[in-house]
Amino acid sequence: MNMLKLAFRNTRRQPRRTLLTALAIGITVAAVTYMDAHIKGITTGIFKTFVKLEAGHVKVVPREAVDRSRPLPLDKGIKDITSLISVIRSSPGIINVSPRISFPVLLDKGSNSIPAFGIGLLPSQEADLMNLEEMIVTGRLLSDSSWDVMLGNKLADKLDLDVGDELFMVTTDSYGGLGPGLYNVCGIVSSGVSYIDKRTFYVSLYAAQEQLSMVNSAMEIVCSVENGLEGAIPVADSLSLLLQLADRDDVAPLPWQMQGSLYSALAPAKVMYFLIMLLLGIIALTTVVNTVLMSVMERTREIGALRALGFKRGTVISMIMSESLVIGFFATICGIIFGMTVALILHETGIDLSGALESTEFPMKPIVYPDPSILTAVKAAFFGLILSLAAAWYPARVAVRMEPAQALRSE
């Protein structure tokens, strides 16, 4: 307790130096706090968008598609989906099951062709997956068995189509022949993801099956599961066993983390975050070491006197480190408060990155919302306190290396 009192008293002896030390620690902690919330906001946002618009929590795909980077041809789709859906529904942890057919098509616009991507789905089964109703800009939701189409807003602009217009398209069916389809535009949607809104349209599964000659077939069956993002892997594991028991070796369940390379592609982002944190730590460490060392050097005679009075080396080390810890403690609290406040404000308002994301093909919404949590604050506190202690270590060692007699003689 006496050591803490001494440390408090010492911090008041050179207020400007104490402030400089505190600022170095506080700004670093604030930056680390905000960055943690920002990175978490970006990755969680990307994962949620990916799951919602593409992957589902778990996706059942033809086994041939598991290690394939390109989409399977339509004739390799999942057959007899009615019985398969019954099996999937009986698996524990599954909430919703929705078959989908994705198909490429060239849409005519005058003498030009616009490459587009159709998704045939059951809107009624997609409430917690690709919730088209939530995405409607104008018009209404398509029904499960209509020849209606909902267009991505940017695709609709390119095609110069609006609600009530007709869209005729011809694509390659599952036999390799031509599959025509005449649709009524019932809605314009916006997912918020530029590349998806530029080329995607949505039709009922029934219409897609008819147009592509894929009766009772689908290219994938998308599932939502209990416990959301975290629940995908255990549910996929148990579903895999169930499918084996049901003799459906032709398909395999994939949790969202194992679909494509998105999840693994974001691992370097975490490494980058760690490196930036390390760099900030080193910069702050240099400043703090410098100020604490100056403080030690100015008190050489005082430290010599303390040693001459019988203070042990450990006690001197504790005194200097406590001083740094006291500054670090308050600076860390201030840094966390500042970082969390900024993160919380931006969590509400969001950061608009639409300009930067316009031409990227990444499932990321243009508004990024930092995602601060208690864990963010705990990590930042841990970082600030470790930084304070690490910065004081070298000056403390310098202090105890002084011989008391020599220290007392110094000017």
Partner: protein, 238 residues
């Protein structure tokens, strides 16, 4: 004796023909002024499944052709209209017409081995290919065709011709690297007055194993005269 002389003279006359003359004969044999037919197309997929399409067709030379599916119900009423190099498809359920162009030309009709490009092609090979004779037997002659014209579907072709009727018993169509893409084999012919006509033809993919498309002419009449509006775009309406 006179019979022997006749055979020898005929044979030596045949031998004397150049590759171009042989090809001109083939072109002549494959060309007809007009015809109307009913045919069954079988599309065999590598998995072993067969799909059947019955159709009615009207043809006037190389210029005009109109074909309509009679079966199966899903395709019934779908029409193809060819006018010179242009091809349109009419989809009755949607009441919409599509001009076949670009990449779709390379696509197989009903996923089979005959492409839309094959459909629009003129039957005259001599106009587009340099030809040389590569082999000859008593009954057949082999011609090698090569074209530097970038618009042809197949830069290389090899024809095995039956000397008796000038029909290509087998034709191998190859791509730019002279790698075979598909082969056309005449399985059955029928004599109509003064000409022999292939009535069962099979197109076999050389890229995908066990994939073929067979055309069986069930009924054919030559020398038809069709109404003036038979090959107009009016037929691409309900």
């Amino acid at each position: 004796m006179s019979l022997i002389c006749f055979v020898v003279l005929t044979a030596s006359k045949a031998d004397a023909q150049t590759a171009e003359e042989w090809l001109a004969k083939v072109d002549g044999q494959m060309f007809y002024k007009s015809a109307e037919y009913t045919a069954l197309m079988t599309v065999h997929s590598p998995g072993g499944a067969n799909r059947f399409f019955r159709m009615n067709g009207k043809v006037v030379g190389d210029e005009f052709a109109l074909m309509e599916y009679l079966e199966p119900p899903r395709q019934k009423g779908t029409r193809y209209l060819k006018r010179s190099d242009n091809l349109w498809i009419y989809f009755p359920k949607q009441d919409r017409t599509m001009h076949i162009q670009g990449h779709i030309l390379r696509q197989g009709v009903q996923g089979g081995d005959m492409s839309f490009e094959d459909m629009t092609e003129s039957s005259s090979l001599l106009e587009k290919y340099e030809v040389k004779k590569t082999a000859e037997t008593d009954t057949t002659i082999t011609l090698q065709l090569e074209s530097s014209d970038m618009t042809v579907s197949y830069p290389f072709r090899e024809l095995l011709i039956d000397k008796r009727n000038y029909l290509p018993i087998k034709m191998v169509n190859s791509g730019v690297n002279n790698l075979p893409i598909k082969e056309l084999v005449i399985l059955k012919t029928k004599r109509f007055k003064n000409r022999t006509f292939p009535i069962v033809t099979e197109i076999r993919s050389r890229l995908v194993e066990n994939k073929w498309t067979r055309f069986e002419i069930e009924e054919i009449r030559f020398g038809m005269k069709f109404p003036d509006d038979t090959f107009t775009k009016k037929v691409l309406e309900k």
